[in-house]
C-alpha cells in the first residue's frame, strides 16, 4: 500500500474545556475520494484546520503525504483547499484572485483553469466585492481544481452553488479522481457524498464513529420492505432477518430486512404477496439513524 494522502494519529484539539476533535485516527489512501460527514459543530472544519496547519493540535499529529501537516511549506505544495466560507479582497477581480493563487500556490494547469471558469460560468472581470457567496465559492473551486494538486481538501464546497453548478462540481471531482488525485470532501450534502465518494467517515462531537465505504455503510443497514397481500397479511415477525414488523393499512405490512433475504422472501411467496417494494436507505437515513435525537 502506498503513502497515505492524509493520515492522522490520535489527533485532538481542545479549546479550553471544549474538546473539538477527540483522538482522531484517520487514514485516507492516495487516489481516494473521501467523504467527511457530521452535523454542525462535530469538528469537521477543526479537523481540516489541523490538517492544513492553520490550527495546532493539542495532542497527536497529522501528515499530508508523509509530510508533517505543520510543515506547510512542503505539505501545501501537494494540496489545494476550498474553505467553507470563502472571503476575498473586495477590490480585486476574480481574475486577479485566480492569478494570485496560481502564482503563490502549488502550480497550475492554465488551460484547465480557463475551461473551469467557462464551465462554472464565472465572470472573472468583476470585483470580488460584488460576488455572491456562490460566486466566491466558484473562485476558490476553480483555483483549487486548476492546480491539479494530488490532494484536494474541500470544506463544504457546494453550500452556495445552484444544482447546475453542483453538477459541474461533481464532474470536476470525477475528473480529479480519474486523474489519480485524492479528494477529501467535508459535506452536509449527503446526496453529493453518496454520488462521488468511495469512503465516508462520520464524525460526531469530535469523535470518529464510523469509517466505511459508501456501499458498506449502506449494507450495514437494513433494507426497507413494503409488501401488499391479496388477503390478510401474515405475521412475519418471527422470520429470520425481519425486524420492525408492523402493519401498514389493512392489506400491507412494512418491515426492515437485515442480512440474507431468503427466509423473508419465502414467507412472502407463501403468503401470496401481490406487490413488494424494496428500498435501499439513502445515506441521509443512515446518517439520521446515527445521530438520532441527540445529534448536536
Amino acid at each position: 500500500m502506498g503513502v497515505a494522502a492524509v493520515r492522522t494519529e490520535n489527533l485532538s484539539k481542545r479549546y479550553g474545556r471544549l474538546c473539538a476533535v477527540d483522538d482522531l485516527t484517520l487514514h485516507v489512501a492516495a487516489g481516494e475520494v473521501f467523504g467527511f460527514l457530521g452535523p454542525n459543530g462535530a469538528g469537521k472544519s477543526t479537523t481540516i484546520r489541523l490538517l492544513l496547519g492553520l490550527a495546532r493540535p493539542t495532542t497527536g499529529r497529522a501528515w499530508i503525504f508523509d509530510t508533517d501537516a505543520a510543515d506547510v511549506g512542503v505539505a501545501h505544495r501537494r494540496l489545494a483547499y476550498v474553505p467553507a466560507d470563502v472571503a476575498l479582497w473586495p477590490r480585486m477581480t476574480g481574475a486577479e484572485v485566480l492569478d494570485l493563487l496560481a502564482r503563490v500556490g502549488p502550480g497550475i494547469d492554465a488551460a484547465y483553469r480557463d475551461e473551469l471558469v467557462e464551465r462554472f460560468a464565472l465572470d472573472v472581470s468583476k470585483p470580488a466585492g460584488t460576488y455572491s457567496t456562490g460566486n466566491r465559492q466558484k473562485v476558490a473551486l476553480v483555483a483549487a481544481f486548476a492546480t491539479r494538486a494530488p490532494l484536494l481538501v474541500l470544506d463544504e464546497p457546494t453550500s452556495g452553488l445552484d444544482p447546475l453548478m453542483e453538477l459541474e462540481f461533481r464532474r470536476a471531482v470525477t475528473a480529479a479522481r480519474d486523474n489519480g488525485q485524492t479528494v477529501f470532501l467535508s459535506s452536509h450534502q449527503l446526496a453529493e457524498v453518496e454520488a462521488v465518494c468511495d469512503r465516508v467517515a462520520i464524525l460526531r462531537a469530535g469523535t470518529l464513529i464510523e469509517v466505511a465505504s459508501v456501499a458498506a455503510l449502506r449494507r450495514l443497514h437494513r433494507t426497507e420492505v413494503t409488501a401488499t397481500f391479496a388477503g390478510t397479511p401474515p405475521d412475519l415477525s418471527g422470520v429470520a432477518g425481519v425486524a420492525g414488523y408492523h402493519p401498514d393499512g389493512a392489506a400491507s405490512v412494512r418491515f426492515t430486512l437485515n442480512g440474507s433475504p431468503a427466509a423473508a422472501l419465502r414467507a412472502l411467496a407463501d403468503a401470496d404477496a401481490v406487490a413488494i417494494a424494496v428500498r435501499e436507505p439513502s445515506l441521509e437515513e443512515i446518517f439520521l439513524a446515527y445521530y438520532g435525537q441527540d445529534a448536536r
Binding site: 484546520r49 492544513l52 496547519g53 492553520l54 490550527a55 495546532r56 506547510v72 511549506g73 512542503v74 505539505a75 501545501h76 505544495r77 494540496l79 489545494a80 483547499y81 474553505p83 466560507d85 470563502v86 472571503a87 476575498l88 479582497w89 473586495p90 477590490r91 477581480t93 481574475a95 486577479e96 484572485v97 492569478d99 494570485l100 493563487l101 502564482r103 503563490v104 500556490g105 502549488p106 465572470d123 472573472v124 472581470s125 468583476k126 470585483p127 466585492g129 460584488t130 476558490a140 483555483a143 481538501v153
Partner: protein
C-alpha cells in the same frame, strides 16, 4: 413560551449592540481627554510671560500655523487649550471617524448586518441608531474634559466652551465616518476618505491661522472652528453652533444616502467589470506591497503637504524666536529647540515619528483584520509558511515607512529652500531618518501584538509613537522626574540635524524592536490562526 417573551424594542436593542462595540474605546478616549486637560491645568505654574512677548507670539504666523492661535496664555485654562486642544481634537476626531466606519461599514461588510436587517429594522434605522449612540461618546468626552478642567481650577465658561468645541468636533467626525461608510464599498476606503477630510481640515486650519488674509478659511475646517471659539478669551459660541449644524446636516445626509442604497452596497460602488491588473501578484512579498500602495498614496499626500508647510514657515518661525529670546527660552523648556532652522525642523520631525509609527501599526492591523475576515485563508493554504507571510507584510510596511520618511524630508527641504531658510537636503534627510528607530519600535510592537494578541495590533503598534509622544508631552508639562520622561522613546531622540544623532539609543531601540519582532514571529508561528 412566546407568551412570556418580552417584546424587545428594536431601537433599544440596536443601541445596546452599538454601545457594546464602542464602550471600551470610548472610556479610553474620554479618560485621555479629561485626564490630559486636568493635568495641564493643575500643573500650570505662573511662568510669568512678558505681555509684549505675548502679543508678538499671538501675531507670529508660524506659531499660529503650528500650534494654533495662542489665546489667553496667561491663564491656566487658556494655556491648556493651546497646549492640548489641537492634539485632543485630532485624537477624538480620528477615533470618532474610525469607530463610525468600524461599527457601520465594517459590520455590514463582514455580513453581520444581513442577519440583523432580516429583522424588523431598516438599514437607515440601523445606521442612524449606531451613529447616534456613537455621537454620545464625544459629548461625554467633551463634558468630562470641561468638568475635569473646572475641577482642576480653570474658569467655568472657557472650560465649558472648550469641552463643547471638543464634543462638536468629535460629533462632526462621527458624521464624517458615517457618511463615508455610505459612500464607499469597504471600510478601508471609507477610512481613507474620512482621513482625507481630517487632514484637509487640519491643513485648512493651519493655512487660515498662518496667513491673515486667509483667516476666513478657518470657518471651513472643523479644527479651524474649534480654534475660533477662543475659549478663555472671547468665548464665542457661534463656531460651536456652526460645527454642530454641519454635523447634523452630514448626519441627515448619511441617513438619506443609507435609504437610497442596498444592504452590502455603497453609493459609489462600481459593479462593472474591468480588465485584470496582474502586476504585483507574483509572490506574497509582491502582494503585500500591492496592498500597501493605496494607503501609502494617501499618507504620502498628507505628509508631503504637512511637511511642505512646515518648511515654508521655517524662516518666519526662527526669525521670530531669535528676536523674542524669551519665547525661545520657554519653548526650550517645553522641549522645543526652535531657535535655528535645524532645531525647528528636528523638533517637528517628532511628529513624523508619530505619523509614520501609526501608519505602520495601521498596516499590520490590516493584516490582522484580513486574517480575522478569513481573506488570508487561501494564502495560508498555499505553500507559504506563516513566517514568510509575516515577513512579507513587515518588509512592505517598513519599505512604505521609509518612503514616507523620505517624502517628509524632501518636502521640508523643498519648503525651506523656497523661502531660502538654508536647510540642506542631507540635513533634512538626516533629521527625518533620525526618527526611524521609533518607527521600528512601532513595527516591533505591532508584530508582537499580531503574534500574541491579534485583536490589539493597531493600539499596541501605535503605542511607542503616539503613546510615547503623549507621554513625553505630559511629562514635560508637569515637570515630571526625568526617569518618567525617559520611558518615552522620544526622550532618546536627539535633535538631528541640529545635533548629532544619539546612536547608542538608536541601537538600543532597534535591538528592542528586533526582539519584539522575533517574539512576535514566534507567537505567530505557534498560535492558531483565526482563518
Amino acid at each position: 413560551m412566546s407568551a412570556t417573551t418580552t417584546e424587545a424594542v428594536p431601537g433599544r436593542v440596536l443601541a445596546a449592540l452599538a454601545a457594546r462595540q464602542i464602550v471600551r474605546g470610548a472610556l479610553v478616549v474620554t479618560a485621555i481627554c479629561a485626564g490630559m486637560s486636568a493635568l495641564v491645568v493643575a500643573m500650570y505654574s505662573a511662568q510669568a510671560l512678558d505681555p509684549t512677548a505675548l502679543v508678538a507670539l499671538a501675531r507670529n504666523p508660524a506659531i499660529r500655523t503650528l500650534f494654533g492661535e495662542p489665546v489667553a496664555l496667561d491663564e491656566a485654562g487658556g494655556f491648556t487649550v493651546w497646549r492640548t486642544g489641537a492634539v485632543l481634537t485630532v485624537l477624538l476626531g480620528v477615533w470618532s471617524s474610525l469607530a463610525a466606519t468600524r461599527i457601520t461599514r465594517g459590520e455590514e461588510d463582514a455580513g453581520r448586518w444581513h442577519l440583523l436587517l432580516s429583522g424588523r429594522t431598516t438599514l437607515t434605522d440601523t445606521v442612524r441608531r449606531h451613529l447616534e449612540v456613537l455621537a454620545v461618546v464625544p459629548l461625554v468626552a467633551g463634558a468630562a474634559t470641561a468638568a475635569a478642567m473646572i475641577a482642576a481650577g480653570a474658569g467655568v465658561t472657557g472650560s465649558l466652551l472648550h469641552g463643547a468645541g471638543l464634543a462638536m468636533a468629535g460629533f462632526f467626525f462621527v458624521a464624517v465616518g458615517g457618511l463615508t461608510a455610505q459612500l464607499f464599498p469597504g471600510r478601508s476606503a471609507a477610512n481613507g476618505a474620512a482621513a482625507a477630510v481630517l487632514v484637509l481640515g487640519l491643513l485648512t486650519r493651519m493655512v487660515g491661522d498662518g496667513v491673515p488674509a486667509l483667516a476666513w478659511l478657518r470657518w471651513l475646517s472643523p479644527f479651524g472652528l474649534v480654534a475660533l471659539i477662543r475659549a478663555f478669551d472671547t468665548n464665542r459660541v457661534l463656531p460651536v453652533a456652526v460645527l454642530a449644524c454641519a454635523a447634523v446636516i452630514l448626519l441627515a445626509l448619511t441617513g438619506r444616502l443609507a435609504a437610497r442604497r442596498d444592504v452590502g452596497d455603497a453609493v459609489l460602488a462600481t459593479a462593472g467589470g474591468r480588465p485584470a491588473r496582474t502586476t504585483l501578484l507574483g509572490s506574497v512579498h509582491a502582494f503585500a506591497a500591492r496592498r500597501t500602495l493605496r494607503p501609502l498614496a494617501g499618507w504620502v499626500a498628507g505628509i508631503a503637504a504637512y511637511f511642505l508647510l512646515i518648511g515654508l514657515i521655517a524662516r518666519s518661525m526662527t526669525d521670530f524666536l531669535t528676536t523674542n529670546p524669551q519665547f525661545a527660552k520657554s519653548a526650550a523648556q517645553a522641549g522645543f529647540a526652535l531657535g535655528t532652522v535645524e532645531g525647528y525642523v528636528a523638533t517637528l520631525f517628532a511628529l513624523l515619528a508619530v505619523a509614520v509609527g501609526v501608519f505602520v501599526a495601521v498596516l499590520l492591523a490590516a493584516v490582522a483584520a484580513d486574517e480575522n475576515a478569513r481573506r488570508l485563508t487561501l494564502l495560508f493554504a498555499a505553500p507559504v509558511t506563516r513566517v514568510r507571510l509575516l515577513a512579507a507584510e513587515a518588509v512592505a510596511a517598513s519599505g512604505a515607512a521609509l518612503i514616507l520618511v523620505t517624502v517628509a524630508a524632501v518636502a521640508v527641504w523643498a519648503g525651506t529652500t523656497t523661502v531660502g531658510a538654508g536647510l540642506t537636503l542631507v540635513d533634512a534627510l538626516a533629521g527625518a531618518f533620525n526618527v526611524v528607530p521609533v518607527v521600528l519600535l512601532c513595527l516591533g510592537a505591532a508584530v508582537l501584538a499580531l503574534g500574541w494578541t491579534p485583536r490589539a495590533v493597531a493600539g499596541i503598534g501605535a503605542l511607542p509613537a503616539a503613546g510615547g509622544f503623549l507621554w513625553q508631552v505630559i511629562a514635560d508639562s508637569i515637570n515630571a522626574p526625568s526617569w518618567i520622561g525617559a520611558l518615552s522613546p522620544f526622550a532618546h531622540l536627539d535633535g538631528v540635524p541640529a545635533t548629532a544623532p544619539n546612536l547608542p539609543a538608536a541601537a538600543v531601540m532597534t535591538a528592542v524592536a528586533a526582539a519584539c519582532v522575533t517574539i512576535g514571529a514566534a507567537g505567530y508561528h505557534r498560535r492558531d490562526l483565526q482563518a
